[in-house]
């Protein structure tokens, strides 16, 4: 469970986030949607502790970074997994080494235990024949899978994904979305996903937060989004002709 209270973030006087209040539940995929440049990545990086908020607090199971001691903070870090927009795989390591990396850094597992766990998660993301390839040698969709595998290998309680299906073909994007949804359910993870992909909104939006102009303009889920009366949200979500038709159908109750 993550709670965000009055979160502000500015860079050199320009305010990007202007007071965000929301919360994210375990076992649920929560989506942050909004146009490019609306501050989704900045918000996620604040949650991750990569950006220090200018004002406001973020609570992880009722504790904020501020009340954590150093060791507690690194413990929290070890409970977080992150899938970066470009994958952020280490290019100097093979697929297998990338996934094993968090285990080697932070656990006292034996080599055999690590091998088991790495094989297990690589199987989980349906990627078992690319172990010795380097990130530059595999496709974008495969890189995303490796990145997800690396994020979950240490069994995190919090999973963050920055546009996990940008740059992927629709088919692969759907597979990645489903993977994130399933993993969240299986392990009761609190998952927060940034996206501007409307497919994801309808497929996995168990909670949806619409970010616009540095504040949350609308909050809800994929079941009620077609009834939203926020103009910006409607023009954002239903901008394409296809989705305009989807909305009409949804409102008719299909």
């Amino acid at each position: 469970m993550i709670k965000v209270k009055n979160l502000h973030k500015s860079f050199d006087g320009t305010e990007v986030l202007k007071g965000i209040n929301t919360s994210f539940e375990p076992g649920q995929t929560s989506l942050i949607i909004g146009q490019s440049g609306s501050g989704k990545t900045v918000f996620l990086k604040c949650l991750l502790g990569l950006h220090k908020p200018t004002k406001g607090d973020i609570y992880f199971n009722d504790k904020t970074y501020n009340d954590f001691t150093k060791t507690k903070k690194s413990l929290l870090r070890k409970n977080m997994g992150m899938v970066f927009q470009g994958g952020a795989l280490f290019d100097s390591m093979t697929v297998y080494e990338n996934v094993m990396f968090p285990l080697r850094m932070f656990t006292k597992m034996t080599k055999a235990e690590m091998d088991n766990r790495v094989t297990e998660v690589l199987d989980r993301v349906n990627l078992s024949n690319a172990n010795d390839k380097f990130p530059s040698e595999i496709s974008g969709g495969m890189q995303k899978r490796v990145s997800i595998a690396r994020a979950i290998v240490n069994k995190p309680k919090f999973l963050f994904c920055d546009e996990p299906n940008s740059g992927l073909d629709p088919n692969t994007a759907t597979i990645i979305d489903q993977l994130i949804l399933e993993i969240t359910k299986e392990n009761n993870i609190t998952t927060v996903v940034n996206t501007h992909d409307m497919n994801s909104v309808f497929e996995i939006g168990e909670k949806i937060v619409y970010l616009q102009g540095g504040i949350i303009e609308w909050e809800g889920n994929n079941k009620i989004i077609h009834n939203a009366d926020n103009k910006d949200l409607i023009s954002f979500v239903y901008s394409s002709n296809l989705f305009k038709k989807v909305r009409v159908a949804q409102q008719k109750g299909y």
Partner: protein, 245 residues
């Protein structure tokens, strides 16, 4: 960003990079990798350049020593002095600012723009320690590289002088051993250590704090080369002033 701010940020980086050490077993692999990338892979070019610079230095000396009253052995002496005191430690370090320096800046810079550094930080790793500390340790082997450069340079000087028929082998060797002052070798290696530290940290700084994309990585490498060379030249002047005068 203004210079004062950058200098401050550089020294803060030096402070931060020794905090929260990376796990020993991981660190050991990183250091071995860096020794390979930074040192072993530079051996070829260092040998090549040192040999020919040594040769040219001694030919120049020979051609300019036309006064019959000055003993020919001076060629050996002058070649030794210029190679040990300047050509090996300083000139090779400038070459390394181009080779090792731009490699460091572009590899760390690429990790920055592709969010690999953020990925390390998210895991709770001190990315500065993880990335820069192994490079500093690897650069502790730099004096070895410079010793090789001195040795090869003097061989180049000897061969060029003797094969070129400027003086006899005995005369060169006599000159080479003349007025040998051990402190001058110490001076050369003290500055080599300082240059090694500059070569490891200044390019790292330029890569680590860069912003932007692939184009900026290229730009950062160029800026890094310029600054690393400038700092080496200035440090060389300061160290020489302090130690030798």
């Amino acid at each position: 960003m203004n210079y004062i701010e950058s200098i401050g940020q550089y020294f803060m980086m030096l402070g931060d990079l020794f905090k929260k050490m990376t796990k020993g077993s991981v660190l050991r692999r990183l250091i071995i990798q860096e020794i390979n990338d930074l040192m072993t892979n530079s051996l070829g070019i260092v040998v090549f350049i040192s040999f020919f610079i040594g040769a040219v230095v001694s030919i120049q000396m020979a051609l300019n020593l036309s006064n019959p009253l000055i003993p020919k052995s001076l060629i050996g002496y002058a070649a030794r002095q210029s190679i040990i005191l300047e050509f090996a430690p300083t000139f090779i370090s400038i070459i390394m600012a181009g080779k090792v320096g731009s490699f460091i800046t572009s590899s760390i810079g690429t990790m920055r723009v592709t969010e690999q550094i953020d990925a390390l930080e998210v895991m709770g790793i001190n990315s500065l320690n993880y990335l820069v500390f192994p490079k500093i340790i690897a650069m502790l082997f730099y004096p070895f590289l410079i010793a090789v450069s001195m040795f090869i340079g003097i061989i180049g000087a000897y061969l060029a002088a003797v094969i070129g028929g400027f003086l006899s082998s005995e005369a060169f060797l006599t000159g080479m051993q003349q007025d040998f002052i051990p402190f001058q070798v110490a001076y050369a290696f003290i500055k080599t250590f300082v240059f090694a530290f500059i070569l490891a940290t200044v390019p790292s700084f330029h890569g680590y704090y860069m912003k932007g994309g692939a184009l900026e990585v290229g730009r950062a490498s160029t800026t890094s080369f310029v600054w690393t060379s400038v700092i080496i030249i200035v440090a060389n002047y300061v160290i020489t002033q302090i130690l030798l005068s």
